[in-house]
Amino acid sequence: MKSANSFKLLLVMWLLLIIGAGLQLNETRWQSSILSFLPASDSDSKQKHLHNNPVNQQVRLLLQGGDADDYSEFARQLWQADIGVAWLKPTEQAEKVRDLYAKYSGLIVTDTQLSQLANEEYESLINHAWKELSSPAPIVISHLEFDPLLLTESYVKNQVNPFVGYTQYGFEVSQNPPIWLLFGSLEESSFDREAAELLTHHVRKLEHDIQASNPDFEVATSGIAFHTAAAASQAEWEVNLFGGLSLFVITVLIWLVLGRFKPLLATVGVLFLAASSGLAVVIICFADVHLIALVFATTLIGIAVDYAIHGVLAVSYGKDAFKRMIPHLRLGVATTLLAYIALWILPFELLKQVAVFIGSGLIVAYLSVRTGMQNMLGQVQFNPHPYVQKIGFMMTDTWGLLSRRQAAVIIGVMGVGAVIMLPQLHFSDQVVGLTQSPAELMEQEQNVHQWMGATEGIQTLWVVQEDTSTENLLRKQEALRTALATDPAVKYWQMLADSVPSLHRQNLVLDLQDRLWQSPEGQAYLAELGLAAVSQDRERFDLAEVPAWQRDLLLLESAGLWVSFTHIQARKDFEPNAIELAVGMDWYKPIESAEAALGDLRHQLYLWITVALVAAFGILYWKRGGLIAATGVVYLFFIMVAALKLSQLLGYPLNIFHLVAIVLVLSLAIDYLVFFSSPLAAGYVQIAVALSALTSLLAFGMLAFSATPAIASFGHTVLFGILIAALLAPLFSRLRKSCEG
């Protein structure tokens, strides 16, 4: 097929791809939190459950600097806004819970009461009931005819109240100065960009409105949704900035080098086709698209432009030069694609999306150059500006002055240097360092948590539980609660069994009370109250009756299984392994799990990098001979170690994203190596590689300025890696000459 027809076919395919993506666009959910895409060491199903953990949906707002009127007005307007948040209505909920506990009074008891009943410590129970009855405090919960011992009344009063009081809208965590805490639950995922931005926008707008009359009024926010919104705006800003700037600077650079409109248009055309195809494929392949993946993906411009430049320069050197260039370009594309296939294979959704975006973009870029470049540029012969050619040939000539021995010494120094630096590299798998919310948002988060009673030195743990029946879930939680209550390191927990006892427990409580009423102490107590008997014919408290807000906070149904979450706060010295968990229950520490997974991922990347070096040796040996293959591997190894060492010197601990950057650096360095060790004209190769390196440096270097440490880490390493690779690559034109010579 003629290249003109092939190019038309490519355009048709591209159009179909864009239409496909357009149709899929409405279904796409845009995510922005890097944490939501972090891998975990746990099973997929558990990871999914935890991702959907209802606690992630919580929204907490701390209202300060105003009075009750300001807060009520803020809350009233917020509740009226249709922003997909179910707000907790404290008064209404308290009434519901009170009515529910009143209805089932006598069935809900503390573990201590249960133990007293079981041990027949009747005097203690009866004495306590008399104290309650003699107190001026109202009997709010228990119906005496069902619960003469006021067990449920005591149960409720024994619950720790972390807040001072509550109002129609929120909890009053301080009276003087008045500070309120509002709770809500986001209906969409907190990682969903649109939902998060809608909520954030409304909160800030209402805060601004109230501030018009009271400038001291402030709202501190807490919840994943607010971080999602901040990360989304940051990512969007960076995609636009890095993408736009890369494109602009690259355009200027190409204009300066070539000084012609047509090659510039052809280059921009290739970039446009590549970038739009990459985005389209990602939209078609993934339901949840990560904005941070798109920030990484802006670097496609830096790589795709290389192919366009090779194409433009080869065309300018004539049809034969273009034909000779194509196999080398294809080899370069293949090695780069191999690097992205490695990323795609890794169990890290974020990297998969980067790999799919750039991989498909590069294929389209190559096909555009292969089929369209000559058509776009026509038969017009042109050369780069003479001063550019002069610089290119000067550099080649400078390297050409090296003797074979000197080249060997340089390679040897590189090898020794790499071996010395390698043990000095230290990696960290800490998740906390990978992402960073704005300082202001973190302060607000801390502020809210302080008012919620969170203290330093306390860790949060989760127990995730799966079962086919809710009764089993509750019974296992009751056993867990007994164990937690006896561990002094455990400070607080929240579980479904605190809201509703299992049927087994309710039956046991009734049986034990019945035994009490048959005893002389029980008979005497009933006689003093004037009660003849206590009815045992009671309806049981069912989970379905627990208010949805309370139930949904800790329970979800997934694929026929009930999944429940127990939230535990404990001192740092708490030893989870000391607590025996029932079958179906597992400890889950999200951060530790993610860090363990990142550690595994890092080791997989070591393997991939080793495989890449071996593969590079094999390909170079096959195509270029033993000397180029051996020195090439030393060159790649040195670039890798030196780029990491320089990144480490910046003060950032080396992490998984530095290694991801190394994979990319290696793929680009192999490209340079392939071209410089090829029989193509050295001057042309020098210009093409220098331009490619410059454009890549611009595109990737910008990532070093990202506010997200993970992206900045990636940017630093690619920047150093490409710089070293481009400066040292001409050595291979000398080595090739040496070989040939």
Partner: protein, 185 residues
Amino acid sequence: MMAICMRGLCIISTGFVLMAAGAVLAQGEEIPDAAHVLIQPSQSTHLRFRQEKHLQGMPRPLVSRGYLELSSASLLWVTEQPVEQKIQISEQGVQEFSGQQYQQVEGTKLIGQLLLALLNRDLDYLEQYFSLSAKENCVALTPLAKPLATLYSQIEVCGEAQIEQVKLYEEGGNTTDIRLQAVEG
């Protein structure tokens, strides 16, 4: 989460009501005319009480007796019959006497703050929560809003020279009738 709010609310409301009577009646210029003749509370009061609880479903009232001591810093509620019990309410909250020492009850700090406000005759504070109306020699306090309104429909404070009776009408239908008598000397 809602259940944990109930406890503080109950204890707060009781101390609140008792002290509210004193504070309301102390502010002669603010209270309704008919209650003008009521007591002027002293800074330290020793009173005996007889409490009758009329509970729904119970055939007869539950009676308890004891005394209370009122000072500028605390209120001591001591039940002598049918069981012995001591409750101390102060700025720090509510403390129950168990064995040999007082034990702080969680989530009751507000009661201490309320008490101080009441002893300092901070009528503004009370008016924030109740509307006041006179009825013969009684003052009726009606909670203005939830959550107090979910506990009490009305509170009556009656007396001639001093507080003699406090009646708590609970929202659920229970009634607590507390009769007070000053102890001479």
